[in-house]
Symmetry: C2
Subunit: 199 residues, 2 copies
């Protein structure tokens, strides 16, 4: 008589599987997260883990969606209220470097990891990663365009600014994750100042 409770429980289970997948994937990559490993870690059966998704690819897509949500929550939302243009670009890059420095996920930025892992594999996951990073690039580009139009940046190609900011984030992530480089965020901040013509 109460389908509610089980529907809520099912949703909570699904969410727990997704969170565990996102966390593990940031360390070892989405492809290396096995259904059996998740089942062990969550104290569930393999069927219980994969059932709500139907296939590993569907779970990967759900995990990617969640990772994008986390990224936007950490990097975009704190900056969304700033004035469009250079102010917001500074707010976004501040939040971005904070995010990279805090190790929100144990293995660093999920999206960078996923981009690396899937760039050479065809399929729906690769397409979804590509879409997410392309949209993020567009967002940065639009912000840079606004800044140029307002005279807050020199008359540069906004795509160039967006490219440089993305590159800096990758550089920071690699230096931190691979070498445990504690200076990386600091160097990232300096590089951002140059990319935004603020030094």
């Amino acid at each position: 008589m109460s389908p509610r409770r089980s529907a809520i429980a099912a949703k909570a289970t699904r969410q727990a599987v997704i969170e565990e997948t996102v966390s593990r994937a940031s360390l070892a990559g989405l492809e290396s997260v096995s259904i059996g490993g998740l089942a062990d870690g969550l104290g569930m059966s393999k069927a219980g883990v994969i059932g709500p998704f139907g296939s590993k690819e569907a779970l990967q897509l759900a995990a990617l969606e969640r990772a994008i949500e986390i990224f936007l929550g950490e990097v975009w939302e704190p900056a969304a209220d700033a004035a469009p243009g250079l102010d917001r670009l500074r707010a976004v890059t501040d939040a971005w470097l904070d995010y990279l420095g805090r190790d929100v996920l144990p293995g660093g930025c999920f999206l960078t990891q996923a981009a690396c892992e899937f760039d050479g594999r065809p399929g729906r996951v690769k397409e979804a990663v590509e879409r997410a990073l392309t949209r993020w690039q567009w967002l940065l580009e639009a912000e840079a365009q606004t800044a140029v139009s307002a005279g807050e940046l020199p008359r540069v190609d906004p795509g160039q600014v967006a490219f440089e900011l993305g590159a800096i984030a990758q550089g920071v992530n690699q230096a931190r994750q691979l070498r445990g480089d504690e200076l990386a965020v600091q160097r990232g901040r300096r590089a951002v100042l140059r990319a935004l013509y603020l030094d």
Copy 2:
């Protein structure tokens, strides 16, 4: 009575396995290259593939070593004869961006791929990747230091210059491999000019 011929043949086999591994790993990652897959691709048995190495980890280390050799041959050697300092830094970055634009390996830069893949996994492969990239960073840093001392660069932190150049290379590699962005090398060249204070 002729151990030579078989020793030479054994070496050639070993080399063929390594080349195939490097090529496949640039696309899908070192961990995803399976011994069975290599055996199929090379028309050999699994035992024939893994025998010369003893373990998958040993094969991965050999492939990494070969990838470093390729990278240095493509990026450092063409620049090695330039005058130390800014000239050589320009020669290196020119060769580096050429290398990224030519898709020397089918999946782009092996070292960037390996750094991403292993940064969250402990072990000898991770340590070897870390060592290789740290040494490369040192080399760039030393070159930048020479340029600063010669007054060819402003009095900046040479480590900052090396960081920015590495970040640019990662940005170019991701844009090309994930999005097939044909503008990436061009944007990389512009970013290098800024990183070297040449614009």
